[in-house]
């Protein structure tokens, strides 16, 4: 009798944590871990959502993407261009804004609110809103350009500057993230370092160069990786602005995936693109983790 209750208590102790964890774990496995493996399996099959069979085709989908798909490399190029334009400019602008916002200036609350506000706006709204501003016929931008004697431009129709525009819009929309992370990074630099720099006769500019920048190295590393990972997933802000056009100039990987998967219902190929994105993101994440571990060991 006594041992019975004891083992019951022990059993309860063992089972209780899992009862708490059950709702999360079951949904987590079904909706995040399982689809990840399922995705890999789908990428080895050919399926159009109609036919009852899903034949196994090995690496054919990847082979198609690499060698026959007219748009895969176009979209890789577009994604890389998006990253090359987006990441460095957002690092520089984010840092500059953070340094200036960190000063004691009158009206700081207003400045911060205005600069952070676009971040909470829906990506679809962002795309649409700038579609209106850039509208060649009745948009604001062409109107003001005309006032300065510049002829109206065919924004978003002519592919030349489209990616640059997309990136400018993205900066406006999401610079809050970098700025806030940098602001936090700035607070983390010990005051004593600035004191020491001042005693050594550093000007504010020199101390920015020799104290602030080195102090923000880890923060910058974190931001770079986060931005690159995020850039591979960019969709909404580009979709409603350009739908991937004109002439596929802004057809980034996620847009290519969406088109292949949900316009043409070639699920195997779409899953193969997802696998490629996943591998890239995974590698980048591992690099980030090992970098963090290194800098942690150093400290």
């Amino acid at each position: 009798m006594k041992t019975n209750t004891r083992s019951l208590v022990l059993l309860r102790k063992k089972v209780t944590p899992f009862l708490f964890l059950l709702p999360f774990l079951s949904f987590y496995v079904v909706m995040q871990l399982f689809p990840l493996f399922q995705n890999l399996r789908v990428s080895f099959t050919e399926w159009d959502m109609m036919s009852p069979e899903k034949p196994f085709v090995g690496l054919a989908n990847f082979k198609y993407l690499f060698f026959s798909d007219p748009f895969f490399w176009v979209s890789v190029k577009a994604t890389l261009l998006y990253i090359v334009l987006n990441v460095p400019s957002k690092i520089v602008i984010g840092l500059a804004l953070a340094v200036v916002l960190n000063q004691r200036l009158w009206g700081k609350a207003f400045h911060r609110t205005a600069i952070f506000l676009p971040f909470v706006i829906n990506s679809a709204v962002v795309g649409l809103l700038f579609g209106w501003i850039l509208d060649p016929q009745s948009g604001m931008l062409n109107y003001f350009l005309q006032k300065f004697g510049i002829p109206p431009q065919q924004w978003l129709v002519d592919p030349t500057w489209t990616m640059e525009i997309v990136v400018l819009v993205t900066i406006w929309w999401s610079i809050a993230f970098n700025t806030i992370v940098y602001l936090a990074g700035l607070q983390g630099i010990p005051e004593e370092l600035y004191d020491a720099a001042k005693i050594d006769g550093c000007s504010p500019w020199q101390s920015f160069w020799h104290v602030t920048l080195p102090g923000l190295r880890d923060t910058t590393m974190f931001i770079v990786i986060m931005q690159v990972i995020g850039s591979f997933q960019a969709f909404g802000n580009i979709w409603l602005l350009t739908h991937g056009g004109p002439v596929n100039a802004t057809r980034v990987l996620m847009i290519h995936l969406y088109r292949i998967g949900f316009y043409y219902f070639r699920m195997g190929q779409a899953a193969a693109i997802a696998v490629i994105i996943f591998i890239i993101v995974l590698v980048l994440t591992l690099i980030m983790l090992s970098m963090f571990r290194k800098s942690e060991l150093k400290n």
Binding site: L21, L36, R41, W132, Y194
Partner: protein, 291 residues
């Protein structure tokens, strides 16, 4: 004259006043130009469609009108905006509620109980932090399709309610709550469950609020997933109906109505940002959370 003196604040040098003034003007110009597209949208949404196309742009509309808003709430061309608004609200609030509920339940044993496998489960959850949900949208779509759950609230709510990040955040927060508080309660006969909602949760309001805010923003603004799984116009959420209107309203009638929907879509998130700005900034600063 350049006067440098110590400030017991964030920066050590007081920049000379002229430079400060220039900096201030620059920053103010930047801040206003950040607001300009938003103000422009609000103003255009209050201008009639014909005036938008025919007249030159004005920041303050000549004849303000709410006809665009009336159109999107009463249009007979397609789905009105009322139902998507309701859908978005239902989905977002359910997602927030479920996320807080599921995450705090999962975080509690990981923070407070010693059990076999806790380490493994924690690693499994950390793994989830690194997986972007988007890469499994294809198979997730096929899963919900085979269950016949496309165009339902379930397909919109469930994937968003599983937040490895939420579990992680709450676990870290729960661990900072002194264990003694719970011990006392347990001597008084509190069970684990009671201790969670009588002691831990009331003390974790800041963390729960932070998670709730970001979950709401993420869910309200979620675009690609709803776009994939919704085909019936009566189930669409606000961002999806926006994309749908883009195609449905062509030509002259387009911009005014689209901008009115954009304003409606942005009001809840902007309000939340203005009210909870401190939590919002702290959330990003401490965790690198994305909205």
């Amino acid at each position: 004259m350049e006067t440098k003196y110590y400030l017991s604040g964030q920066r050590k040098w007081k920049i000379p006043d002229l430079k400060r003034l220039i900096l201030w003007v620059l920053l103010t110009v930047i801040a206003i130009s950040f607001l300009l597209p938003i103000l422009w949208t609000i103003s255009s949404s209050l201008t009639s469609n014909t005036a938008l196309v025919q007249q030159k742009p004005r920041l303050i509309p000549e004849k303000p009108t709410i006809e665009n808003y009336i159109t999107v709430f009463t249009t007979n061309k397609t789905q009105t905006v009322g139902r998507p608004l309701l859908n978005s609200a239902i989905v977002s609030f359910s997602t927030v509620f479920l996320t807080l509920f599921i995450s705090s339940f999962a975080a509690y044993p990981l923070a407070r109980m010693d059990f076999k496998g806790s380490h493994f489960i924690f690693i499994l959850i950390l793994l989830g932090l690194m997986i972007p949900l988007q890469v499994s949208f294809i198979s997730l779509y096929l899963l919900f399709n085979s269950l016949g759950l496309l165009n339902t609230y379930a397909v919109l709510i469930l994937p968003g309610a599983i937040s490895p990040f939420g579990v992680f955040l709450l676990r870290q927060f729960f661990r900072t709550i002194p264990k003694e508080l719970e011990d006392v309660a347990m001597i008084d006969g509190c069970g684990r469950l009671k201790s969670l909602y009588l002691i831990i949760l009331p003390l974790s309001v800041p963390a729960l609020l932070c998670l709730g805010i970001f979950t709401f923003l993420g869910s309200w603004n979620s675009f690609l997933w709803p776009l994939i799984v919704l085909t019936k116009s009566n189930m669409m959420t606000i961002p999806v109906i926006l994309s749908y209107y883009w195609g449905a309203f062509a030509g002259v009638a387009k911009w005014g109505t689209l901008l009115a929907v954009s304003v409606i879509a942005s009001i809840p998130t902007i309000l939340i940002f203005l009210v909870f700005q401190r939590y919002f900034v702290q959330g990003i600063a401490t965790t690198g959370l994305k909205g």
